[in-house]
């Protein structure tokens, strides 16, 4: 195995280790006795970091076609933002969608 291959494998290993640590450590955030919006921000941050790690080191999105890269990153960045926004502005969302639910 060439040194370049070893470095590539080492990066994947480190990314996996980070993901495991964030998953185990991040599980404690939900049980934190804090403001709901603060908990949502913490959970969203951990989610965003984990998604970014998977996109970069597992999916190798930086090498992908720009359209694929942009679409997947929009999904990955949009989700943590929506988690925070819908927690902070749940009442507004409820009012806006009230007509749909009936």
């Amino acid at each position: 195995m060439s040194p370049v291959d070893k470095i590539g494998d080492r990066r994947i290993d480190l990314a996996w280790l980070m993901l495991v640590l964030l998953s185990v450590g991040g599980a404690g955030i939900g049980s934190a006795d804090a403001n709901a919006v603060l908990v949502a921000v913490g959970v969203s941050l951990v989610m965003a970091i984990k998604l970014r790690l998977v996109c970069t080191y597992f999916l190798e999105l930086h090498e992908a076609h720009p359209r694929i890269r942009r679409a997947v990153l929009a999904f990955c960045h949009g989700m943590p933002i929506l988690v925070t926004l819908t927690t902070a502005f749940g009442d507004t969302l409820s009012r806006l969608t009230g007509a749909l639910i009936g």
């Binding site: 994947i12 998953s23 049980s31 190798e60 720009p66 009230g98």
Partner: protein, 208 residues
């Protein structure tokens, strides 16, 4: 009498070599068809997430109390199984790129075993849930939970079937360091399915 047949000298006998990619243009990992499927999957889950957010906005108390009703241990277990399976698949792809077919098969088999951990934990979690009365009539949080996680489970099953196919093909020598788009296409699907779980997990097990 002889019959002479002459071909025009300009007819090419082999396919033209692909043009080199322009810097920064990127490439389509795996295959176009797989990315059509992946974007269908992303669209499907985006709609389900939208339903989740609206239901949560209308029933904040039910969603606030929801995570305490589920097993955080099971949720963390799913996450670790899928992440480790994804790591094995990424290592398998690297092994194939350097031409190590045996290592590719070994990493893929390890990825399959960890992937099987997901439905295995699901069996135990469902037994626990049903014993606690958490079925389809247990409220909006549990219904949303089953809707999203069962849909994800279906995608994991497709992935496990795909992984079996790719392992067999790798073992038969169908992929080479130069041409392994099938293996790469599967890896893309599996990582995206993994990413979607990383979104589902905090919604139900942490956030409420």
């Amino acid at each position: 009498m002889t019959l002479a047949v002459s071909l025009p000298p300009t007819v090419p006998t082999t396919a033209p070599a692909p043009l080199p990619a322009q810097p920064g243009a990127g490439r389509i990992p795996g295959s176009k068809a797989m990315w059509v499927g992946i974007f269908c999957e992303i669209t499907e889950f985006a709609l389900l997430f939208a339903v989740f957010f609206v239901a949560r906005a209308h029933h904040p108390e039910a969603f606030q109390a929801g995570p305490e009703r589920l097993s955080l241990l099971a949720g963390t277990g799913y996450t670790l199984m899928l992440l480790t399976s994804g790591w094995c698949v990424a290592r398998a792809l690297h092994a194939m790129r350097r031409g190590d077919r045996r290592a590719t098969v070994r990493w893929m088999l390890a990825g399959f075993v960890f992937g099987l951990g997901y439905p295995a934990i699901k069996v135990f979690e469902l037994q626990r849930n049903f014993a606690l009365g958490l079925d389809g009539s247990a409220g909006v949080f549990i219904v949303s939970y089953y809707y999203l996680t069962f849909t994800h489970l279906v995608h994991v099953f497709w992935g496990l079937l795909g992984m079996m196919w790719v392992i067999v093909r790798t073992g038969l020598g169908a992929y080479t360091p130069e041409e392994h788009s099938g293996l790469e296409a599967f890896a893309c699907y599996w990582h995206v399915t993994d990413m979607i779980w990383l979104m589902i997990f905090p919604l139900f097990y942490l956030l409420g």
